[in-house]
Symmetry: C2
Subunit: 256 residues, 2 copies
């Protein structure tokens, strides 16, 4: 039923009372499918550092609008996963050699502390999770490169979860992503990211509550990863060559 009498015109609204932001579904942009897609593409190394992320292409690829892509890209830029250059566009982030070393150093610090905290808080459920993961990692298909990468990441994330500190968990997530970028930028092609035997060792030491041993194993594991990358000496030259080869390849594929 409609109102029988129109409201009077009010001169001006009073100062709005401040309502606290109550618990109302703070769904963050991390759950965004575009962000997730780009993130998994990067961690699976299907997007290489320096790759152009055109807005229109991403929009049509993900079936959304350009404005949505822009939000996702600027979010990823805030996380230093993509680099945005004004009027040029967004590219997959390429860390410098110094930054790559800093990332590994940060991981040494945070993940050793994480291992220690995980041992402190280890309970029945945690042991079960850890065992389950170790089994999955033991009998996975080593030829499936993407599955290997996913499992390797999940192990470190699991340890961070067991530590029970969400802030450290988020930091570990960020550092693992940036580690992927560092490795992709500076690796000698063809080598795996992690040595395949490191994770079972660390897991066993955590289950045995051997704090010093687990910390040492984790530190050694990260140092092993770090020693697998090398600075690119004639970086400009190499880049130019690869750029030329890419160009030639593109031309050949285009049938020109």
């Amino acid at each position: 039923m409609k109102r029988t009498r129109p409201l009077k015109r009010r001169p001006k609204r009073s100062e709005p009372k401040h309502r606290e932001p109550e618990a109302v579904d703070p769904r963050s942009i991390d759950d965004d499918p575009v962000v997730q897609g780009i993130l998994t593409a990067i961690s699976q190394k299907r997007l290489k550092p320096g790759a152009k992320l055109g807005e229109d292409k991403l929009a049509s690829a993900f079936g959304t609008t350009r404005i949505h892509i822009r939000q996702a890209l600027s979010h990823l830029a805030s996380r230093k996963v993509v680099m945005q250059i004004p009027n040029r566009g967004a590219f997959v982030y390429r860390p410098s050699w110094e930054e790559a070393q800093d990332i590994f150093a940060a991981r040494r610090i945070i993940e050793t502390a994480t291992v220690s905290a995980a041992i402190d808080r280890l309970d029945k459920a945690g042991k079960a999770e850890l065992k389950a993961h170790m089994e999955r990692e033991a009998r996975h298909d080593r030829n499936d490169r993407w599955a290997s990468l996913s499992l390797t990441a999940e192990f470190h994330i699991l340890v961070a979860k067991l530590a029970g500190n969400r802030v450290l968990l988020e930091m570990s997530r960020e550092l693992m992503l940036r580690t992927s970028l560092a490795i992709a930028t500076f690796e000698q092609p063809g080598e795996p990211d992690c040595s395949p035997d490191a994770h079972p060792d660390i897991g066993a030491l955590i289950l045995a509550r051997d704090r010093a041993g687990a910390i040492h194993a984790m530190r050694h594991h990260i140092e092993e990863m770090e020693q697998r990358i090398r600075p690119k000496e004639g970086e400009d030259e190499v880049d130019e060559l690869t750029a030329i080869f890419q160009e030639i390849g593109a031309r050949v594929r285009a049938g020109g």
Copy 2:
């Protein structure tokens, strides 16, 4: 001079060559004045957790357009400094009690490691910087609340800088901001954030290259800060009251 002959119409452009994003001024959004303004306002506690950050108001306050504000707010939301709720707006982030504890735990881990690294890398220039800061902190006006807060933050940032790891430096920056939010949310009103004598002690121990002592002092310093906050039991009630008092205060200041 104009062209004498018009160009032929080309059927379609070939696949664009991939240009690497060379060193071209990657000026990030961190330098944005809006971001900087909100950040300093938060670290100076002029913006309290839960405060509404309306887009129009910020736009007129900073003298820019709304789209610019949106970019800044979503960037700050990515850094968990503001919380964005769909169709409700942006608010200064209010960490939960568990998150506040996690933040302090993360700082214990990162800043103790940072102190250790700073001692390792300490050189003439670093000593000079540290001494200069300690002098400034020794003879600053203790009644100037904003200056105190700035100096307190600068000390921790300086230690992180001396460690020579930019990734850890960024993490320390983030954690200090979130510490401000945690303290602002859970502090008993009126107490200072840092005990005033802690920083000179830590600085002196770093200068003396007393690693164990400096690490212990830093850990103790952070634990002291942590023990200054208490979970809010009747949270709703307190929040409502403070909101009322804030409103009344604003009206009085506005001369209403």
